[in-house]
Symmetry: C2
Subunit: 287 residues, 2 copies
DNA sequence: CAGTGGTCTAGACCACACT
DNA sequence: GTGTGGTCTAGACCACTGC
């Protein structure tokens, strides 16, 4: 062995890695060892933040996902190939992929490969919908009926702009719809989407679609929702909600306000759902 | 090297590992390769379920935790020591500990050691309380005031028995309390606890205690809550809740029904909380 | 069969905390 | 300095999938 054992040190993959593999790049010998992250100016002369190799690899993979090099459902290169591409050992790539897999960005399938996670095609559809029937033995049902109430183009209010990281007055889309199970309305949702990425979204597009809305977003607009944060409250139904959900005014409803993010924590959807919970509940696991 | 490279095969640690390390045990040479898990009788001649070594190690560590060999807050033996004890490599122990750490059963602290997780003493107190103020910049507050309404000994109803894996009529404890923030009542909780493990729990014990109730359970009763499942609904305040939470009858409240488990998925607490959510919300992250 | 992820090992070195 | 967890490598072999 010409190069025995561990070679920890601090290397900076970011600075010297080609976008695609090729022959050994020339200026690569002495390994100049620049810090992975520069000191973001300001006070705190602090430590330059040591970044392990596998974290850098993770960032690079993330970058490729974001750039669309591999699309939802695609198989990414094997660990061995990626190791060659990034000039690290397979184990290091493995650790990076492990973390991306636990974040649900990638899905490993033994014997087949590693795939970009998707909201479509997976057996676990409606991954972000946590409303379950009280009784039904975990019978995970997709919403039987949906009705699009409206899909309007308008300008962002200060509040919506803030949450979607836009400017007040920027163009946005608003969608309002009702989901029903077995003929009984259960969910009333309002969505606010940034106008840019979702240009061309219409009532027809939404109405024609079966399957999860996030799957539609992936295939039609290239927008992949990666994580979300929900704020849950109990509220009384106002006149509008009461009518659309077929409950008396003042009836208690679960208000679920969701902010959903794509890669790199970019907010891409604000959603407010009102759930009827007489015979269903929002399920959550703590640990 | 006398024993080069990988030694995967299938080994069964469970069958041959002493509780504590000693000199090399005699009957260890040829590695008899018994299946880790026998075919649990029945149909399905199926595969005996291959179990990786690190999973077996994980089970063994779990067993020690459950048996109280290491108590909440304790440091467990180093990876190196555990590797010697279980006669595997450090890397295998590491993988087992990794999983236990992501399950929040253990906490790794670089340079110090690996510790048994606890609900006490951690900076992240009230780990299972997801109610946050709408405005306050994440100002995580412990409930300022608590008032124990009652603590009764009684017999389990069919429903409570089912959920706590007891038999109808088994002795249980019921606790009712109110939590308030800044003088304003916010949470009304009913708890049902199995009588056996919590023998001796009184209003006084509860009233005298500051800090998280789960910390009290650990120190006084040796019961450690490991995970929980919550079912959330919107309900209208009944007369009792209205009085105790100082809201009008019919006011919308968040109903949070929690079943909490110790090690090995043994249910140990059923809890039903009613939350006021006019200026607070239940926060949840999806991914 | 080859290719992929999954497990296991052994050893070197780094970062961190305490003494 | 010593001991702990954390990173990285290299290589062998196992389990699963599909050709």
């Amino acid at each position: 062995m010409s190069k025995p054992g561990g070679t920890a040190g601090s290397r900076d993959i970011m600075a010297t890695t080609p976008a695609f593999p090729s022959e050994p790049s020339p200026a690569d010998g002495p390994d100049t060892t620049a810090p992975a992250f520069g000191d973001a100016g300001g006070m705190a002369p602090a430590a330059p933040a040591f970044s392990p190799l596998y974290q850098q690899i993770k960032t690079l993979i993330l970058r490729s996902l974001q750039a669309g090099e591999w699309k939802p459902g695609d198989m990414i290169p094997s660990e061995f190939d990626l190791a060659a591409r990034f000039r690290v050992s397979q184990g290091t790539v493995r650790k990076a992929i492990d973390e991306l897999a636990t974040d649900n960005l990638l899905v490993r399938r033994q014997g087949k490969g590693t795939f970009v996670a998707t909201h479509a095609e997976q057996h676990i559809q409606y991954r972000f919908l946590r409303l379950l029937p009280d009784a039904g033995n975990l019978a995970q049902q997709g919403p039987a009926e949906r009705r699009i109430i409206e899909c309007r183009r308008l300008r962002a209010s200060a509040e919506v702009a803030r949450q979607l990281a836009l400017r007040t007055g920027d163009p946005i889309l608003q969608v309002k719809r009702v989901l029903a199970f077995a003929g009984s309305p259960a969910i009333l949702e309002d969505l606010w989407l940034p106008g840019g990425p979702f240009k061309g979204l219409t009532v027809e597009t939404l109405s024609d679609d079966k399957g999860p809305m996030y799957a539609l977003f992936e295939t039609q607009f290239g927008v992949r929702m990666v994580r979300a944060v929900e704020k849950i409250k109990a509220v009384a139904a106002d006149a509008d909600a009461a009518r659309l959900l077929d409950v008396p005014e003042g009836h208690p409803l679960l208000s679920v306000e969701r902010l959903a993010y794509t890669y790199n924590d970019v907010p891409m959807e604000l959603r407010r759902g009102l759930y009827r919970t007489e015979s269903r509940h929002y399920r959550n696991e703590l640990s």
